[in-house]
Amino acid sequence: MHWLVATVTETIPETVEAVSLALEIPDWTGHRAGQHVDVRLTAEDGYSVERSYSIASAPRSDEVELTVVRIDEGEVSPYLTTGLEVGDQIEIRGPIGGYFVWEKAETRPVLLLGGGSGVVPLMAMFRYHAQLDHSTQMRLIYSARTERDILYKEELTALAGGHRDVLITLTREPVSPWSGRRGRIDRDLLSRITKPFTDDLLCFICGPTPFVEATADLLIELGLQPAMVKTERFGPTGGG
């Protein structure tokens, strides 16, 4: 697979730490919801680093949008979130991945579970589902630290309705006007949500390793088939 040159066409601030980058890539063949790309940065002396970033946008043929959360000690994300301007170019390899992908031909109800920036590939699925006005049920449960860390907050609210719904739960929100759910995604919550489905519910879980493994274990304890629980772990070095 070749490295492609992508041109930044827009930078969209999402939170204090996160930026979405719209990229135009000549000869882009389109992507599937849930896929990622590798980004390579090369210094003048030839030193290069690669990192994987999930695609946040629904499949389109001419453009992709990545959301990057800055990790202060990272080698790549500080540059991508603060050092890039419209017209700048970066190297991209992709689209990558076929395991953590939601297809429009899918007929089963879908549960998306995102922890932190793990919501990004799930957002591609959610946006795609809305764009298609898909007839299956899709439910997103998004665990963020605080209200100011929530990615795509207004858009998620706007896309919810009909066959889609969103539940945001905050794990470290201090005393505030937040009237939504607080606390981790726990067994009680998952039990209530999966109860009507267990036989055919398809799950996608993405986030930090402890979040993914704890949540996947709970779903399997609740009776879901392991093959129906698809996971993608973001590691401490994965998004740097």
Binding site: T29, G30, R32, H36, P95, G97, P210, G235
Partner: protein, 102 residues
Amino acid sequence: MDTARLDGNVAAGILADIFQPEMTIAITTCANCGAVRPLGELFAYVRAPGVVLRCPTCEAALLRLVQTPGRTWLDLRGTSVLQMELAGPEDADDSNPRSEMS
């Protein structure tokens, strides 16, 4: 819990340099315990000079990969079978065959 543990999805880009089929959906058989699962579900350890994919059942190493500029070493002795989905002749030139499906 080992927070350095990722999964096979993280190796997809490097494997796409070597293999033509999409490798996260390739089905692996562990040479140690016989467990069968998609490569995307294997445990991945990347904080090393290379990538190691391990069996979630028995933790044996199925794949070890090291890259230097211009050269790749791939050790697959822990994988007894690797099944890959090949593109059909009608879409062999399409690098993203499913994107256009109904």
